[in-house]
Amino acid sequence: MSVETKPLLSRVADSLYWMARYMERAENVARLLEVNLHLQLDLPLDGNQWQPVIDTCGEAPAFRKKYGEATQESVIAFLAQDRDYANSITSCLFAARENARSVRETISSEMWEHVNGVYLKTLQQYAKPPEELSPEVFRDLRLNGHMFQGITDATMSHNEPWHFVRLGRQMERADKTSRLLDVKYFMLLPRDAGVGTPYDDLLWSAVLKSVSGFEMYRQSRGKVSPREVVSFLVLDPDFPRSIRHSIARAVDSLDVIRGGVESQSARQLGELRRELDEMDVDQMILSGLHEFLDNLQLRLNAVGAGLQRDFFALRTQMQSQTQAVGGD
């Protein structure tokens, strides 16, 4: 490196990482809701497609306790508006904004103003009863998520702080894509084992659309089939929301961040990347996709805990610390 990078506070790195995760998380919830609202229009009357949305988020018990049956209104109230639920859109945007606010001096003004603006606007939009929230407001949030990424990449130097932002974004994305696939595959596969109906095609297309992947899928894979959708979402090297791509970019960022210093989190994430590079889709499905995805999520969580230990935690033992980095 030609220019010495400025030191980055552990607390700031932590907030950058979580700002990005919460923005990505809010966007992912909005994607799910938007696609599901569209899907409703195409499905037969008896098809309740709202419970699977709750399942995707892994929040079925908490939801049932407070809202009971999964309907369009109750799911939107929970996932979009509920401030008591930590991963609702409004809660995520609040958390993203609080994190951004605590690192305003590090991010660009454009980024801060965008996060702040999206939060204020969304709060206003979502202050209606859930049945009045149109797919448009979720589309808005998806576009705002894209814009946040664009602003981040265009206005912030691609140095250590930026790599923490990208690391957060990619970790969250890999986790969300795996959850989405896990639930949908479980839901759809039994029926798909028989004769493929037009609705199965519709549902798998919806999965692809919820990750903005339908068109790119068509270009590289053609016909919609469960095997190919799984292969695309898990192993595609080029699609920006595939698990393999997300993890590869996360590894790239982590490599820049650690700058040659060994760290457990980087080792764990690197292993995951190598396994995905060599994975065979049929083998993965045969030995149980659910088990594979479950294990993947556990390992991502372990990496998250490792990041905490390696970079974010305040280290009070100065002596050992000074030795560990070889003095200053």
Binding site: K6, P7, L8, S10, E98, R104, V325
Partner: protein, 483 residues
């Protein structure tokens, strides 16, 4: 339209003379305002309000739920200061800061000024903000007052006076910069034809000032950080703003650690040595080992590191002694003592309640005077006589009798006014002016402009943001070529 019903009401108006004619320096501005279409000013004002919210230029209000933010109201009509008047203000501020800096250094060393009986020693000993722990410390370059925000007012006689010195952690400069930015974005036409002196080099000058006073051990560029009490402090916006504009880390107490008299910050690559700290935490909370032991905001051991000369603290701890309102009344004497000559900008006449004659006068005239606690700021602990009830006056009378050292009184000042957009028209509102002064190794610099605070409530004289105040852009005009 806007000015149809405008009245000076016998106050000094910064835009109009007593006979109602416009002041020469405001002539062009007035013409521009009068040429605006109906509703234009109001639309620009609303656009500015929206922008403030979008930009998150807010302050936190104490006593309300955590995270409660308000915008600091901004009024589009600027306050104009002509070049010759600014020249005098600038000279007066430099003179005053030099004297105050010499005074603080003296108080924490030989106390010459007390021995020469210019100021009674008892006044220093009894000052709540006097810090005996600081004795004998030699800050780099002999500078104590790195950043000052002096409050000036213009009285009914047209003269500018110093109201307060603010040598501890003065805030508000971010609003000076943002107000100018906002003016240019929402109301660019008013700048036409005027030579308004720019303010945006302030963060660069501030960083130069801080770097210039780094400890002796620094050979390369020193590591400068800004220490904030955190996100829920009322001035957090300013802390992050200044750190961002200077490109330096914004740290909290929990990010710093002192070992063997050296200050380190916790980074992703391990500890890094910190050289200069622009601290925005009051003395009381700075170091639990030296000041308030219950402080969770500060850094244990930081004053010791400072005493050893391993880190620079700006502003220097202990400055508050010169902010005491009783000691304020001696600043003209300090100027004569350290600088020679009279103060260029006078003090407001001040009665000291510990003097028997002064106290009798104050107690007999509570309905006419402004009474202030010697060690309070932000418009707290204050009685504005003409706007007070008999009960409030009785309450203050008792407080004065109980603790005369802690109270001073001043005449109720007829603060000058500036036209301000109230609803659909312009009305006069009272203002003060807080210029910002930087003291570095290479001397003193005054930011051309400052924060004009305006009391938005009709008739109110209290301009503090916590008490319904707003702000205005302050235009210092460049001198005419050849003038």
């Amino acid at each position: 339209m806007l000015f149809d019903t405008y009245q000076n009401d016998s106050f000094h108006d910064e835009m109009f003379q007593a006979d109602g004619s416009v002041r020469p320096e405001a002539k062009l501005l007035l013409e521009t305002l009068q040429s605006l279409q109906d509703g234009h000013l109001q639309r620009s004002q609303r656009a500015a309000d929206r922008m403030l919210l979008q930009m998150g230029i807010t302050f936190n209000v104490y006593g309300e739920a955590a995270g409660t933010e308000r915008i600091f109201p901004f009024d589009l009509i600027p306050r104009i200061v002509p070049a010759n008047e600014w020249d005098r203000i600038e000279r007066g501020l430099k003179q005053r800061i030099r004297a105050l800096n010499a005074f603080i250094d003296d108080i924490y060393h030989g106390q010459r000024i007390l021995k020469d009986k210019v100021i009674p020693a008892e006044v220093i000993r009894s000052a709540a903000s006097y810090r005996p722990q600081i004795h004998g410390i030699n800050p780099p370059g002999g500078v104590w007052c790195h950043i000052t925000g002096t409050d000036l007012i213009r009285h009914g006689d047209g003269e500018i006076y110093v109201l307060e010195d603010n040598l501890r952690v003065p805030s508000g400069v971010s609003y000076v910069l943002e107000n100018r930015d906002l003016m240019k974005r929402t109301f660019p036409e008013v700048f036409e034809g005027l030579r308004v002196r720019p303010v945006d080099d302030y963060p660069g000058n501030l960083l130069d000032t801080l770097e210039s006073l780094a400890p002796a051990h620094c050979e390369d560029t020193p590591l400068v950080v800004l220490l904030t009490p955190g996100m829920y402090n009322s001035a957090y916006f300013e802390h992050s703003f200044l750190a961002q504009k200077m490109g330096i880390p914004l740290v909290q107490g929990s990010d710093l650690i002192v070992e063997d008299g050296i200050v380190w910050m916790q980074t992703t690559k391990g500890p890094r040595r910190v050289d200069v700290i622009y601290r925005r935490i009051d003395d009381d909370f700075l170091d639990p080992a030296v000041f308030r032991a219950d402080s969770l905001l500060g850094v244990r051991g930081i004053v010791d590191a400072y005493r050893q000369g391993n880190v620079t603290l700006a502003n220097a701890p202990g400055n508050g002694v010169a902010d005491d309102k009783v000691i304020y009344s001696y600043v003209p004497d300090m100027i004569r003592y350290y600088e020679g000559g009279d103060a260029i900008i006078p003090n407001v006449e001040t009665y000291l309640c510990w003097r028997d004659a002064d106290r009798q006068h104050v107690l007999a005239n509570l309905d006419k005077l402004v009474v202030k606690a010697a060690n309070e700021a932000g418009g707290y602990g204050m009685l504005v006589g003409p706007h007070s009830t008999k009960e409030q006056q009785d309450d203050f009378a008792q407080r004065i009798v109980d603790n005369p050292r802690n109270y001073i009184a001043q005449p109720t000042l007829a603060l000058s006014r500036v036209p301000t957009l109230i609803g659909d028209r312009l009305e006069g509102r009272h203002v003060d002016l807080r210029p910002y002064v930087l003291y570095g190794k290479n001397g003193i610099q005054v930011l051309p402009g400052g924060l004009t605070r305006v009391a938005l409530r009709k008739g109110s004289l209290v301009v503090n943001s916590s008490q319904g105040g707003g702000s205005k852009d302050t235009w210092v005009l460049a001198a005419e070529v050849g003038a």
